[in-house]
């Protein structure tokens, strides 16, 4: 098991490094200086600014320094637009918010989606099954940017039950709509995957054996069917994580929750390179690490995988 983890780490680390180098070079290729303003900056001032941010040194040296700072001190450097703040400040401010509703969205998607899928498979071809299939088909066409406005129209404008934006330190009524908007389409996918894999498992020989020896249905499902049936779901968790973390950008913008997505889009619009880079690298590394965890979990659960 340890050698398997090390082997996967040997892939993950270069991936993250490649991502850092790629985004660094991309930012270098970008036309225009981040200090350019409409009035124009005097050359002396520009030279001073560039010296301050280290932009006057050769490319390789700067890249080396940047990577060194990121890897050893987790330091993404100063923001070019928010003069008095570093990228780390922005991340420290926004990340807890993103993490809060991201975590709940993930939990809702997995728990609700999984339960729906299992119920649909166990009560195959009953109204429960049709309801679950109906929900998962319908939610396919409701990605987060469709869900968010619909939710606000219904729950904020018509019913007036929940606030349509803001965060207020994460009070529960401000968390609900973002979580629903973010998790719906993934919940639907998880329900669909769980249902079909559970149906397949319930038809397997070993389930028939378990039932033939007189085990109660509940025990058959939880002890025997659940584990093998969850394997495809686990392999979907990686893409779901990527999708949700991407979706968080939209949630932040639409609900003004103040997570890192809001900083990301603002800096994309104002060309604040160091912030875009920092967030891209942070998210990329998180994704690579999450995929690593998923792979390890998969190998741990699936007895067929030899490592």
């Amino acid at each position: 098991m340890l050698s398997f983890i090390i082997k996967r780490l040997a892939v993950a680390v270069p991936t993250i490094l490649a991502l850092i180098v790629f985004s660094f070079l991309l930012m270098e290729a970008a036309p225009g200086s981040p200090f350019a303003t409409e009035r124009g900056v005097p050359p002396e001032v520009l030279a001073n600014l560039e010296a301050k941010y280290g932009l006057d040194r050769p490319l390789i040296e700067r890249m080396g320094i940047y990577i060194w700072n990121v890897v050893t001190q987790f330091d993404f450097g100063p923001s070019f637009k928010f003069k008095d703040r570093t990228v780390n400040d922005l991340i420290a401010q926004g990340f807890p918010v993103t993490l809060t509703y991201g975590f709940w969205s993930f939990v809702v998607a997995v728990v609700v989606g999984g339960t729906l899928g299992i119920l649909a498979a166990v009560y195959h071809n009953t109204w429960l099954d049709y309801l679950a299939v109906g929900i998962s088909v319908g939610a396919q066409v409701l990605p987060n940017f469709v869900m968010a406005p619909i939710l606000v129209v219904v729950f904020t404008l018509w019913l007036g039950w929940l606030p349509g934006g803001g965060w207020r330190g994460g009070q529960w009524e401000y968390v609900i709509l973002p979580v629903i908007a973010l998790s719906t389409s993934y919940m639907a996918s998880i329900a669909r995957i769980t249902r079909s894999s559970m149906l397949e498992t319930l038809n397997a020989q070993f389930i028939r054996t378990a039932r033939a020896k007189g085990l109660p249905m509940r025990r058959v499902i939880f002890r025997h069917a659940l584990k093998p049936a969850m394997l495809p779901v686990i392999s979907y968790l990686g893409p779901a994580f990527v999708g949700m973390i991407t979706g968080s950008v939209l949630i932040d913008v639409f609900f003004s929750t103040g997570g890192i997505g809001q900083f990301f889009v603002n800096s994309a619009l104002s060309r604040d390179y160091s912030v875009i880079m920092g967030i891209t690298i942070l998210i990329g590394s998180l994704t690579v690490l999450f995929n690593l965890v998923v792979d390890v979990a998969y190998a741990w659960i699936d007895p067929k995988i030899r490592y």
Partner: protein
């Protein structure tokens, strides 16, 4: 029971004298299966209507997608609702531009994005996957590692980075979409190739000394086609969602051009001002088209990939 029925015997006797029955190819079977699926056929009709709307819808209106109706400006909420008299069939947007013309234009861009993304994925993904799968060994490992590596990166962020660095434009959007759309297809094509490459007809071709590239193009790829078509149709909606997401954030298509995502974003911005048509029409188009595309994809899968049911 051992003896064939009398009728069968007679039929067999006559068989030699009758005209040869037209053989049914696999594609004929697939078509028959497809047209038996009512949801899929209905989706095809809906999609045809959407395509006609996008192609010729502009002819029905005197307004263009960037022209501002000055009568409306300032009182959009009172006057801007959909109406036949002033020929704003879908109403006007917050700056007094005709929403019908903008929806036509947005539909065009969104459909184009879906189709281009699917095309790139079919061409690049199939070539990549078939090559990796057929050659196998170290080549296969390296090629699929590259795919794995690219898939493990949250692409939306990198694409937004690209859009920021190289100015936002439709072309850049297409390049960005092209960069990611083929990854899944490459995996699927490789998996299929692995099962095809040990079949007898491939062996026969190898025995005859056919070049590797020719075997891939002439023998492997045509046999992948069924599965590739199915996944390409399922890819169209996800590409449309992808583009709409970026445009919703305001990082995609540029004014005065628009797409479903940009229209939904604009409508959502205005929803507190009592102008529900601005959100409603683009949303309806988006949802209906996506539904149709998903059902079409399902229908095609049932038709072309019957073992998968």
């Amino acid at each position: 029971m051992v003896f064939p029925r009398r009728a069968t015997v007679e039929a067999l006797e006559q068989a030699g004298t009758m005209e040869a029955v037209q053989g049914r190819s696999l594609w004929d079977d697939a078509r028959a299966r497809f047209f038996r699926n009512k949801a899929a056929v209905a989706s095809l009709v809906v999609l045809a209507a959407v395509v006609i709307f996008a192609s010729f819808g502009q002819l029905l209106t005197p307004w263009s997608n960037e022209e501002i109706d000055w009568n409306m400006l300032g009182s959009v909420a009172q006057l801007g609702a959909p109406s036949i008299e002033n020929r704003h069939y879908f109403g006007v947007d917050e700056t007094g531009r005709d929403l019908y013309a903008r929806t036509v234009q947005g539909t065009r861009i969104s459909l184009m994005v879906g189709i281009v993304g699917a095309l790139i994925s079919v061409i690049v993904g199939t070539a990549w996957g078939a090559t990796a799968g057929y050659i196998g060994g170290r080549t296969d490992q390296v090629m699929m590692r590259i795919v794995d590596l690219m898939m493990s990166i949250p692409y939306m962020f990198v694409l937004i980075l690209l859009l920021v660095v190289f100015e936002r434009s439709i072309l850049m959007l297409f390049i960005g979409i092209g960069l990611i759309s083929w990854l899944d297809m490459a995996r699927i094509a490789r998996g299929q190739t692995l099962s095809i490459k040990n079949k007898e007809f491939v062996e026969a071709a190898q025995a005859m000394g056919v070049k590797t590239s020719t075997i891939i193009i002439r023998h492997i790829v045509p046999n992948l086609l069924g599965v590739v078509i199915v996944y390409a149709t399922l890819l169209v909606p996800s590409m449309i969602i992808f583009e709409s997401f970026i445009s919703f954030l305001g990082l995609g298509v540029q004014e005065p051009s628009t797409s479903w995502g940009a229209l939904i974003a604009a409508g959502a911005d205005q929803m507190r001002n009592g102008t529900p048509w601005m959100l409603g029409f683009p949303l309806a188009f988006f949802v209906v088209t996506l539904f149709a595309l998903f059902f079409l994809g399902d229908g095609l899968r049932d038709a072309l990939d019957p073992k998968d049911r």
